[in-house]
Symmetry: C2
Subunit: 134 residues, 2 copies
Amino acid sequence: MKMEFAMTIGALARAATVTVETIRFYQRRGLLGTPRKPAGGIRRYGEEDLARVRFIKTAQALGFRLDEVALFLKLDDGLHCADARVIAEQKLKDVRRRLSELQRIESTLAALVRECHTRRRRISCPLIASLQRV
Amino acid sequence: MKMEFAMTIGALARAATVTVETIRFYQRRGLLGTPRKPAGGIRRYGEEDLARVRFIKTAQALGFRLDEVALFLKLDDGLHCADARVIAEQKLKDVRRRLSELQRIESTLAALVRECHTRRRRISCPLIASLQRV
DNA sequence: CTTGACTCCGTACTTAAGTACGGCGCTAAG
DNA sequence: CTTAGCGCCGTACTTAAGTACGGAGTCAAG
């Protein structure tokens, strides 16, 4: 039997370093359960709720959207590992696409700034002029 | 004297490969002028309007937001090149920050997927399990 | 027993960059 | 002369992930 130290929603939020509003938002989105309320009292949250919020935040930090997190949670019964992998592979593809796009932007922008540094005292700003035709 | 071939808003939108609604949206945002309307007639747009829309789209493709584009347009008198450069340098910094963040995500996600491939037939999905603690 | 902090709940607002809609007028073709 | 297709204009809706607010109720300390 584990020692459950029950938290209020505020304590849970602090423990997960999110706001109370975020907790309530996740509940509305169905990502997090809402404990039964003891008849005109205050809800209590356990460690599994904290783990859930951390799960959501970790997945988000890896680029998953909340609806994808919801999918993961549905698949979290040990049986759907392949399905979860497919989602992660798609996300990885997406991340790599964004990465190369951003790299393209980086080099173009860097070139523009460089040009702006070297070609001083021109009639018109090379950077702004470039935006007409990059 | 240049041959101005005047366009309707629809023709301008097609020429710039945006929608009419986008043109009108840019006008509301002050990014694009609204030609005088010939008393109960239809507005006509010229090449400078097309150039302006292309300018906006090019800047957007380099990661600038519309409010930053608006700044560029205000600076476009040849006198504020240094100011424009500062904006571009900030954007470049921002792009590089996002780039390294995305690289971090890429490697973590790739490792997770790899683990999911090799460690088959485990009791629980390593990917989902990892989200509890990455 | 009061005060202050916190919870509960519903609703509305935020940002960015559009998209969609609906009613009207004009205009070019048949 | 009529009709189809645009243009004009205002307003509202979209997505994502929360934030903000306001009026209650509750709980613990003093």
